[in-house]
């Protein structure tokens, strides 16, 4: 039974089952951050414009500030915390960001990674996208620090590496 005004939900986050009690108005971003303490997902606007809150919902990128937590009930959420290995070793995409100076303050970075991850995973085995496609894929993620170039270079490198290993 849930408290009055609260709804109980069950969902999978980064492969683990979670349950929680939320107000209907609680956003998925707030639920992840406040209830599950997964603070890697950042909130930059709460309006759907900046992309800092990007997570994957059932495998597709989504803005967790525009979703209510209750909308994620019964579904699978993936956040930036899922990328690195158990000992903290970086995912190849994270590694590419690090090598290419694809971050400065780091605030947009988790959302940027999740958008880039969607591109990298969806293009596995296919022709690597060109620079224009990479830029389009992250056009919904605002970075105020970098001018995007390190990010674009990092994604390009991650795509090249993937193409290299797929061959």
């Amino acid at each position: 039974m849930s408290e009055p005004g609260r709804i109980s939900i069950e969902l999978t986050v980064n492969g683990e089952a979670h349950r929680g009690e939320v107000e209907p108005r609680t956003t998925l971003a707030d639920f992840l951050r406040e209830e599950l303490r997964l603070t890697g997902t950042h909130v930059g606007c709460e309006d759907g414009f900046c992309g800092a809150c990007t997570v994957h919902l059932d495998g597709a990128s989504a803005r967790s500030c525009l979703l209510y937590a209750v909308q994620a009930a019964g579904r699978e959420v993936r956040t930036v915390e899922s990328l690195a290995g158990p000992d903290g070793e970086l995912h190849p995409l994270q590694e590419a960001f690090r090598r290419n100076h694809g971050l400065q303050c780091g605030f947009c970075t988790p959302g940027m990674l999740m958008s880039a991850l969607e591109l990298v995973e969806s293009r596995a085995g296919g022709d690597p996208p060109d620079e224009g496609e990479i830029r389009a894929a992250i056009a919904g993620n605002i970075c105020r620090c970098t001018g995007y170039q390190g990010i674009v270079e990092a994604i390009s490198e991650a795509l090249d590496d993937r193409a290299g290993t797929a061959e």
Binding site: G40, H42, C45, D47, T79, R99, Q104, T146
Partner: protein, 793 residues
């Protein structure tokens, strides 16, 4: 397609922490990147304290009003709401700017408005509740009586005395003048006089992490701790101490990870003072996280200036004299960081720029209006002044029928040091070389040959050149040369613990620049140790030496890096003395390299840093020989001024039917003297260029006729997206400063200063055939479309 990697590959290929010196000059990968990439950064919104409450501000819906009663009863009746505070509940001293410039009037700013609100969004009350959502519910129920007053929005009218007055004494806060040489004689002797006007747009830093803080007061010790998204913890501590009335010893400010700042997080913000007071009053920790609407509405804006310029030229194009009038729109308060003069005054001082101009006169005015106050934003007042001057030169070139790049070139400063007519001592530079390099890289000659009005249906293409000089590395001398009264020095401390680990403590936190890495490189080189042995800590006033100014004014490498280099040198000498004792050698025979000490000519005698540190701390016999073997060195540093330079070039295509401007190429030649970490420098240069492009093409805070702010979300206030920018092409020149440690200069603001001028000049070039002048930014595409339509019909 453009190549993905920049033309000079060195900086985009990072190297891992190399073991051996020299590290200075190496593009070392950021030491803290992995943490941020894993999502393990710790920003303000990630900080939790036991019993913490959440705050939401009640903000004025009016631009200008008399403030009546504030009634929080209905809010307090709501479950979860713990307190509602208005100004009268939280007595404090108002915030004041500390700038000492004669003739500048002060405008006390309360943490919560009392009696009067002066801008849309000004905080009036604060609601504390068990969650942010609950606090927002409460804020909606707070009833506030307002008696609206006419808003003052036009700075020109405000300067002319139009009221109602925001403060006693009128709305004009400052009028002054810079006079150099004999400008009247210069104009009398001129063959050509060209004049222009420019309205620099009001835009804002818009860091992706908005402002925020967590305050906690310990009634037992009387200590107040504020975790705050700030650039200057010591400066904030001082302001809190002054407003709240606690000694500085009892105020601790901690800057955790900061998600971008760019100047906006330099001031002490009214909200931060209010949160500190509220936490003390309620006896529980309080967290305030600003939302995006509040950030666009009530966080400081920047850059708005009205500028009139006039250039006197000889028949051959030589600049003879320059006249200007600069009016800064300060917003509602002369803000506590840097005052109402941050825009017009700094703009006036750098107006001659890279050009040999000896006869100059500039009138400087600053007025208050009913808008959010203006504070520093990357490039500060220099952006608008630079843009106005470069557009003036562009216009002069067109009037004289000469090439704008060549007109610039013939008037450039070309020998150093050079003292500008406003008293800046340009230490060294590559002004002409950077211009020539930029022109060669963009293929200027060819672009010029192809130039001219476009064929029907084709976009109009234009190229804009924007050479710059940037005051950097502000110590007190740099500030003084900008005629700014400003304590701008640092102390640092380097310590080695008994395990041989090195900690460098500095007062300038990073907001993503990568200072920890860059400073660690300097320390590692200076000491002769491996990079991964060095940890740089910053951001906590209780553990770091004082930085009077904080992270701003492109000063960290020069001032703090310089201090660390000097401290490291001293500590290294001490280490070698101790090692000599341990190895039974003369100090001048011992050398440390990569953390190991060796005796010249005797490879058998060696010691590790750990062994030497162990001796320093625990060997009583050493104490008898060396009265102070402690492995801690503090160093104060306040370096002479230094000036970076370079040249930005933009190539644009303008669709005159839709007004759409496409930035085809953006190129910069940067010269910031000795570079510590080229990858970090490139990151700073690119980021600043992107912000400059935003200012030129997209960004503007808009107000309605009633003073309501109209651009309160990121759809209406547009930031550059990845698709708005081309791959940015960077090239480097290197003119080490003769005056600073290692020849370093600052970097990080040039693109924000010079890119708007480059883009504006490029668009002006593209649409010159339509008779359109660029007189304001962001580019007014409607005017271009209308001019094109008029030409067709």
């Amino acid at each position: 397609m453009q190549p993905l990697r920049s033309s000079e590959g060195s900086a985009s290929t990072l190297v891992e922490a190399p073991g051996a010196a020299p590290l200075v000059g190496a593009p070392v990968a950021r030491l803290d990147a992995a943490r941020l990439l894993r999502g393990q950064g710790r920003y303000i919104a990630d900080i939790e304290r036991a019993g913490m409450l959440h705050a939401c501000f009640v903000r004025s819906p009016h631009a200008h009003a008399r403030l009546g009663a504030v009634d929080g009863a209905a809010a307090l009746a709501l479950e979860g709401v713990v307190a509602v505070f208005a100004a009268a509940d939280l007595p404090h001293q108002p915030l004041l700017d500390s700038v000492r410039i004669e003739g500048l009037r002060k405008t006390p700013q309360p943490a919560l408005a009392s009696e009067r609100v002066r801008f849309h969004g000004e905080p009036v009350a604060v609601v504390l509740a068990s969650s942010r959502a609950r606090a927002e519910d409460g804020a909606e129920l707070v009833r506030v009586e307002y008696e609206p007053l006419a808003p003052v929005l036009d700075p020109e009218a405000a300067a002319a005395g139009a009221g109602p007055d925001l403060f006693e004494g009128g709305n004009l806060l400052y009028r002054g003048e810079i006079v150099a040489g004999d400008v009247e004689a210069a104009f009398a002797a001129a063959d050509h006089v060209v004049s222009a006007r420019y309205h620099g747009n009001r835009y804002a830093a818009v860091p992706m992490e908005a402002r925020g803080c967590v305050a906690e007061h310990d009634p037992g010790s009387g200590e107040l701790t504020l975790w705050c998204s700030t650039q200057g913890p010591h400066q904030l501590r001082r302001r809190l101490s002054q407003t709240i009335g606690l000694p500085e010893s009892h105020v601790r400010v901690i800057a955790p990870d900061v998600g971008g700042a760019f100047g906006q997080k330099i001031p002490a913000h009214a909200e931060e003072v209010a949160i500190a007071l509220a936490a003390r009053a309620v006896g529980r920790p309080v967290r305030w996280i600003e939302d995006r609407l509040e950030n666009l509405l009530a966080a400081p804006h920047a850059k708005e200036q009205l500028i009139e310029t006039e250039l006197a030229l000889a028949a051959d194009g030589t600049f003879l004299g320059l006249r200007a009038r600069i009016l800064g729109d300060a917003g509602a308060y002369s803000h506590n960081s840097t005052s109402a003069l941050i825009e017009p005054y700094l703009s006036a001082g750098l107006m001659p720029g890279v050009y040999r101009i000896r006869d100059y006169r500039c009138e400087i005015l600053a007025a208050v209006t009913n808008k959010s106050p203006v504070a520093p934003y990357r490039g500060v007042g220099w952006t608008a002044g630079h843009t106005a001057r470069e557009l003036l030169i562009e216009k002069a070139a067109r009037q004289l029928g000469v090439d704008p790049a060549q007109l610039r070139r013939r008037n450039m400063v070309d020998s150093f040091p050079y003292e500008s007519c406003t008293g800046m001592l340009y230490d060294s530079g590559s002004y002409v070389a950077s211009l020539d390099r930029a022109l060669a890289e963009i293929g200027y000659e060819e672009l010029r040959r192809e130039g001219g009005p476009p064929a029907a249906g084709q976009p109009a293409v234009g190229v804009g050149v924007s050479p710059y000089v940037e005051p950097t590395g502000w110590g007190s001398d740099g500030a003084l040369q900008s005629r700014w009264s400003f304590a701008s020095h640092d102390s640092v401390r380097i310590e080695i613990d008994p395990s041989g680990a090195v900690t460098a403590a500095v007062g300038t936190p990073s907001q993503g620049q990568g200072h920890e890495t860059m400073l660690a490189q300097i320390v590692a080189d200076g000491l002769g140790v491996e990079l991964d042995r060095v940890r740089v800590v910053s951001g906590d006033t209780s553990g770091t030496p004082i930085s009077t100014a904080g992270t701003r004014a492109s000063r960290t490498a020069v001032v703090v890096g310089g201090a660390l280099a000097l401290a490291a040198e001293e500590l290294r000498a001490k280490l070698e003395r101790i090692a000599a004792y341990l190895l039974d050698a003369e100090p001048d025979q011992v050398r440390i390299e990569a953390g190991r000490f060796a005796v010249a000519g005797d490879s058998a005698r060696e010691a590790t840093l750990r062994e030497v540190a162990e001796v320093a701390f625990y060997d009583p016999a050493l104490r008898a020989r060396l009265p102070d073997p402690s492995l801690s060195v503090s160093r104060f540093h306040d370096p002479p001024a230094s000036y970076a330079n370079g040249c930005v070039v933009a190539l644009v295509a303008v669709d005159v039917e839709t007004g759409a401007v496409t930035l085809r190429r953006l190129l910069s030649v940067e010269d910031c003297g000795t570079v510590v970490n080229p990858a970090l420098v490139d990151g700073q240069v690119r980021g600043a260029l992107a912000q400059g492009v935003g200012g030129a093409l997209l960004e503007q805070v808009r107000y309605g006729a009633d003073g309501t702010m109209l651009s309160g979300d990121l759809r209406r206030y547009k930031l550059p997206k990845a698709t708005d920018l081309p791959a940015i092409e960077l090239h480097h020149e290197c003119s080490p400063s003769p005056f600073t440690v290692n020849g370093m200069k600052g970097v990080g603001e040039s693109g924000a200063i010079a890119a708007p001028g480059a883009v504006a000049a490029a668009v002006a070039d593209a649409v010159a055939h339509l008779g359109v002048e660029i007189e304001s930014l962001p580019i007014d595409t409607d005017r271009i479309v209308a001019a094109a339509a008029a030409e067709r019909s």
